[in-house]
């Protein structure tokens, strides 16, 4: 079995093992082992990938495989990875692994919880390895459905409402996506030849410009809804607020990245003319998201809402980077995807840790937690600092790439947008420091004088995340190189179409 298919198979095997395991301890251990294997596999994948590239393989995709799946419509199970997807897979495996650590104490239907989590993960893996639009879509749906269950069953607060909202909005997005995919599909034989779903086959032909203009928004919005594009972001605050910790992590950390990835890999890649035509319009939406998410975060009282709006803001930067249409900004967007994944996962993990102790997420009700749970507090500060783009953490690297890339456009429109985007760093600082100041510092609230210390599983999970945040932040060159290596085909296709 090839190295990529394993990423879909191992989760399935883990699920089977989970079904046969008994007792909460066994569930945990089985899930943990399954994901440790996957994490190791993703490291191995990166290693193999670098070997492959070092060995002179300069194909767009490596480890490709193509199996006919449904011949009448020419649907293939076609897989392959490039540098970007390899990193995304790494991100996924790390976050799921830490998610398992963080949800160590889930005792309400643990087996089902872990199964849903794993199914979700396998959907995400599948999405990242697919190069066939249809398979990609299928995996996307596989990733979205468990989300509904996870929020609806294990969530808190108005969870049914949140789960429903999230699922319906994402389903609506899928509908648009499907229209877009079919639109691409039926135009994929423009230069003669059979209709195909394979991205790279499609990219070889030139889809008629009118069709591109028509279908680009469908694909873009379809993907962007999951990437929290303004004004389709409203599922995210509610969804995050109600979701259990691990799910918030996975959701904000990985699932929302599907949006940016999909836009880049599919929408922009197969429809460059459409992308150029629509770029300015969507850029305005993205910048509204960036600035507005940050401003809206200032006034929130619920920790998770703050972070959700912060995600809207940061993912707006991803979209902005993608739409800026140059190599630096693209690299920045991809780095931002990675970095935001780790940072926001850390954030949600810490929120989970704090909530698990104080049983409140309202900032104004807490004070002086740094005295009581110093390690958790310090980690929260680290997450905050990473989020506001402190050098040495990953956020800075990513944002600077985006900003420098964005600044390479000299016209007024782009300039204004870039300046607004840059100004978001100030606003980010405001809301992060506000929370830190209110919640962690100050005199300790009497009722929280005795909170249990952060436990080993929570520590392990968060330390892994911090490690990666710092790794990206301190050694950006290595990550950047992997991404730049894979951006070449995109430049060729999108910038010089």
């Amino acid at each position: 079995m090839d190295i990529l298919t394993l990423f879909v198979v191992i989760p399935v095997l883990t699920v089977v093992a989970l079904i046969f395991s008994k007792g909460i301890k066994q569930h945990r251990v089985v899930a943990l082992i399954g994901f440790i294997i996957q994490t190791l596999m993703s490291f191995n994948l990166i290693y193999q990938y670098l070997q492959e590239r070092a060995g002179g393989n300069h194909d767009v995709m490596v480890f490709t495989k193509d199996v006919m799946w449904f011949a009448p419509m020419n649907i293939h199970y076609a897989i392959g990875v490039d540098g970007i997807s390899v990193l995304m897979i790494l991100l996924t495996s790390i976050i799921v692994l830490t998610g398992i650590f963080i949800s160590w104490k889930v005792d309400d239907l643990p087996k089902e919880f872990f199964i849903s989590l794993i199914v979700l993960a396998s959907g995400v893996y599948g999405f990242f390895i697919s190069v066939d639009l249809f398979t990609m879509f299928v995996f996307y749906e596989i990733a979205v459905i468990p989300m509904y269950l996870l929020i609806g069953i294990w969530g808190s607060g108005p969870r049914e409402y949140a789960a429903m909202k999230l699922t319906i909005m994402l389903m609506g997005a899928s509908a648009l996506l499907l229209v877009g995919i079919l639109g691409v599909y039926f135009n994929s034989n423009a230069d003669g030849g059979a209709l195909t779903f394979n991205i790279f086959e499609i990219a070889k032909v030139n889809i008629p410009v009118d069709a591109q203009k028509l279908f680009f928004p469908f694909l873009f919005i379809g993907f962007a809804v999951i990437g929290a594009l303004f004004p389709f972001h409203t599922w995210s605050p509610d969804g995050h607020a109600s979701a259990p910790t691990a799910v918030s992590m996975l959701h904000a950390g990985v699932l929302m990245k599907l949006g940016g990835y999909g836009i880049f890999r599919v929408a922009m890649y197969v429809m460059p003319a459409g992308a150029h035509y629509w770029a300015n319009f969507f850029m305005v939406l993205a910048i509204i998201g960036v600035f507005y998410g940050a401003l809206a975060a200032i006034k929130q009282k619920d920790l998770k809402y703050i972070n959700a709006y912060s995600s809207v803001s940061h993912l707006g930067l991803v979209l902005l980077g993608l739409l800026m249409m140059n190599e630096i900004a693209w690299k920045g967007a991809m780095l931002q995807s990675l970095s935001h994944g780790f940072i926001t996962a850390l954030f949600f993990a810490m929120i989970g840790v704090i909530y698990g102790r104080t049983h409140t997420r309202i900032v104004t009700k807490m004070s002086g937690l740094l005295n009581v749970i110093p390690v958790a507090g310090a980690l929260y500060v680290i997450a905050g600092m990473a989020n506001l783009g402190l050098p040495g953490f990953s956020g800075f690297v990513a944002e600077m790439n985006i900003f420098v890339g964005a600044f390479q456009h000299a016209d007024t429109f782009h300039r204004v947008i870039t300046i607004i985007a840059v100004s978001s760093i100030v606003v980010t600082a405001v809301y992060i420091l506000r929370v830190v100041g209110m919640m962690l510092m100050g005199p300790t609230t009497p009722e929280f004088k005795n909170l249990p210390k952060i436990s080993w599983y929570e520590k392990t999970g968060t330390y892994i995340l911090v490690l990666f945040i710092v790794l990206i932040g301190v050694f950006p060159l290595w990550w950047g190189t992997i991404i730049t290596d894979s951006i070449g085909p995109f430049i060729e296709k999108i910038l010089t179409f």
Partner: protein, 640 residues
């Protein structure tokens, strides 16, 4: 010559930070102080050695000080020419900073062993100090603009952490937050400036950016924005960043509040090193500032500096918190440095202002750190920050008294103390290039003497209040740094600075203009005498003056209400009128629309549901009418 070892200069404090930070539970009080100090001692020795060798060994080639990249590695790669590097740059000003930063930092480390005794989080304090030293060294050794920005941010965050060191005190939290956000706001301008330069110059590298040929080329190419070269705009933006860190008006509001931090921190960060980063930045890009648009950006620098120095000096008259007096004095002195850079020309004696600015930076670091550390010793002794609780301390704290006096004389510009030499050259430079600025500088010199001696007399003479505990001299760990710094404050003025630092890196000889010097000594002495008259003994003279000035005094005491204006803008306008509506808008309009779509569907379906009555004849009716309608449609579509 292998200079790679210079990388260790910033890396040792970083290592200390990580070591202490990760083990902060295990390493107990005095030990962490010793570890931190020892680490810093190594750094300091290395950097003194490097600076010495730079100036006297390898730095000068053909009588010109070279910019040497001791180490440089690509950190983020954008394009062939545009990349962010991490490296160590050696040139005269960075070498000067290599003396200032580790020296003051070492003193503060040493001093804190006594000062921070029995504070909770002692180890944390040392970890933060190490982090700060690392960032500051990274900043001064930066080889490119972006590296400066990176460490700039790190410096900002360590300042945030240190101001908020007493994190249970609400005022400290607010001050920390304010410092971070205000400087962050300024950094926004800085970043924009960098980005603009990155676009037009396609490089961040200082060697290239400061190259005269390159600057001339760039002048030809760049566009015009509002009558100015875009590069000038970028430089002004960069200066805004510098102004934020250096507490220039109107971005100064964070500095007085930053005094909530422990006093050694104020000495290190908010007096001697971090706040002069803005000066350093302008000096770093000096050729660009000078050559674009005939130094328009430099004029901005000069006038901002001049205004701030005057403004801060006035406020310093009326403050009672001794640390705040010192803070405003710091602002005023940094304004002086900015002013000096602003009035400087380029090359040889023309560049006197440049040299004087850096010189003043150097001497000011010594005596201001000394003042702060002395103030720390006093606060340590009387447990209060307020002048009202002090008086007559000279009997109890002789060493502190003497060193404080030396520092006060130095800052007032009385020869032969260090401040005299640097200040005199600033005034000389201003006199030659910009007379109005010179007048301001001259007046401020007198004002400085007055408020410093007001402080001095008020603390050490005046009448003794009722001390609850008898004040006592500080422990040795605290007095030794005072003595070392006092030594520096006396003698550092004799360093022939113009031989070391100059705008075009060619050594020249600066002469003291004795007429000007006499005038400035004169006004300094007048200030001192006035202060003596007012404050040596407890009299109501100052009270009477206060009534005479009335509203003006009140305005000054409240720092011209600038804080309140900011407070109004942030709290009322941003929070209440911008952010809240945004949040509301999101919850109700955007989300409302999305929910509305959902609710609309539900509403329609409940209406439709009613049609499903369960009654057969209703169904039949629908069926029949449906069939008929279809028939009609088909009919008409066939026939017409």
């Amino acid at each position: 010559m292998d200079l790679t070892y210079t990388v260790l200069i910033p890396l040792i404090p970083l290592f200390m930070f990580l070591f202490l930070g990760l083990n902060y539970k295990r390493i107990k009080e005095p030990l962490s102080g010793y570890i931190g100090t020892a680490g810093l001692l190594i750094t300091a020795l290395l950097s003194f050695y490097t600076a010495y060798r730079y100036f006297f060994d390898f730095g000068k080639v053909d009588e010109v000080y070279q910019k040497i990249y001791a180490f440089n590695t690509v950190w983020i790669h954008f394009t062939e020419s545009l990349h962010i590097d991490m490296g160590v740059l050696l040139d005269p000003i960075s070498a000067v900073m290599l003396i200032v930063v580790p020296l003051i930092s070492l003193m503060v480390h040493f001093y804190s062993i006594g000062y921070m005794h029995k504070e909770p989080g002692f180890t944390r304090f040392y970890a933060y100090l190490s982090l700060f030293t690392f960032s500051m060294l990274g900043l001064v050794l930066a080889t490119n603009l972006f590296q400066i920005y990176i460490f700039w941010e790190l410096v900002g965050v360590s300042s945030y952490l240190l101001i908020g060191y007493y994190y249970e005190k609400p005022s400290a939290i607010l001050a920390a937050k304010k410092a971070f956000i205000v400087t962050r706001f300024a950094d926004f301008g800085f970043l924009l400036g960098i980005l603009m330069i990155s676009y037009y110059a396609q490089t961040f590298d200082f060697k290239i950016l400061n190259d005269l040929d390159f600057i001339n080329n760039l002048k030809m190419q760049t566009g015009i924005f509002m009558g100015l070269s875009v590069i000038t705009v970028a430089l002004v933006l960069i200066f805004i960043g510098g102004a934020g860190k250096s507490a220039m008006f109107p971005l100064h509001i964070w500095l007085p509040d930053a005094m909530e931090g422990p006093t050694p921190v104020s000495a290190l960060i908010h007096a001697a090193t971090m706040v002069v980063a803005g000066v350093y930045l302008v000096a770093r890009l000096f050729p660009m500032f000078y050559f674009f648009d005939d130094g328009f950006a430099l004029h901005v620098v000069a006038w901002t500096g001049a205004f701030t120095t005057f403004f801060a000096a006035i406020i310093a008259f009326t403050q009672y918190d001794i640390k705040r007096v010192l803070a405003f004095s710091t602002m005023s002195q940094i304004g002086y440095m900015m002013l000096a850079l602003g009035v400087s020309g380029y090359g040889g004696h023309e560049g006197l202002g440049f040299m004087a600015g850096i010189f003043h930076l150097f001497t000011h670091a010594m005596f201001k750190a000394l003042l702060f550390l002395g103030a720390g010793a006093i606060i340590h002794a009387v447990h209060s920050n307020y002048m009202q609780d002090m008086g007559g301390l000279r009997k109890y704290m002789p060493i502190t008294h003497i060193t404080f006096l030396i520092a006060a004389l130095a800052i007032s510009g009385i020869p032969p103390f260090a401040g005299f030499f640097s200040k005199d050259e600033i005034l000389a430079a201003a006199f030659e290039h910009n007379f109005p600025v010179f007048v301001i500088g001259y007046i401020v010199a007198g004002m400085t003497a007055f408020y410093m001696f007001r402080l001095y007399f008020r603390i050490f003479w005046w009448n003794e209040p009722d001390y609850k505990h008898k004040p006592h001299e500080a422990p040795k760990t605290m007095t030794i740094p005072l003595l070392i710094l006092a030594f520096m404050s006396i003698f550092s003025g004799f360093i022939p600075f113009s031989k070391l630092v100059s705008s075009d890196n060619v050594p020249f000889t600066a002469h003291i203009n004795w007429t000007l010097a006499g005038l400035s000594i004169g006004i300094g002495v007048i200030g001192i005498l006035a202060a003596m008259l007012f404050y040596k003994k407890e009299k109501d003279l100052s009270e009477r003056f206060r009534y005479a000035f009335g509203d003006f005094y009140k305005w000054t005491y409240n720092k011209f209400y600038i804080d309140d204006i900011y407070f109004f803008v942030t709290k009322t306008i941003i929070f209440k009128y911008i952010s809240s509506p945004f949040a509301w808008f999101d919850r109700h309009i955007v989300d409302g629309t999305m929910n509305g779509i959902g609710n609309g569907t539900v509403w329609i379906s409940t209406k439709i549901k009613k049609l499903q009555s369960g009654r057969i004849h209703d169904y039949a009716m629908f069926f029949v009418s449906g069939v008929l309608i279809i028939i009609l449609i088909v009919w008409f579509s066939i026939n017409y």
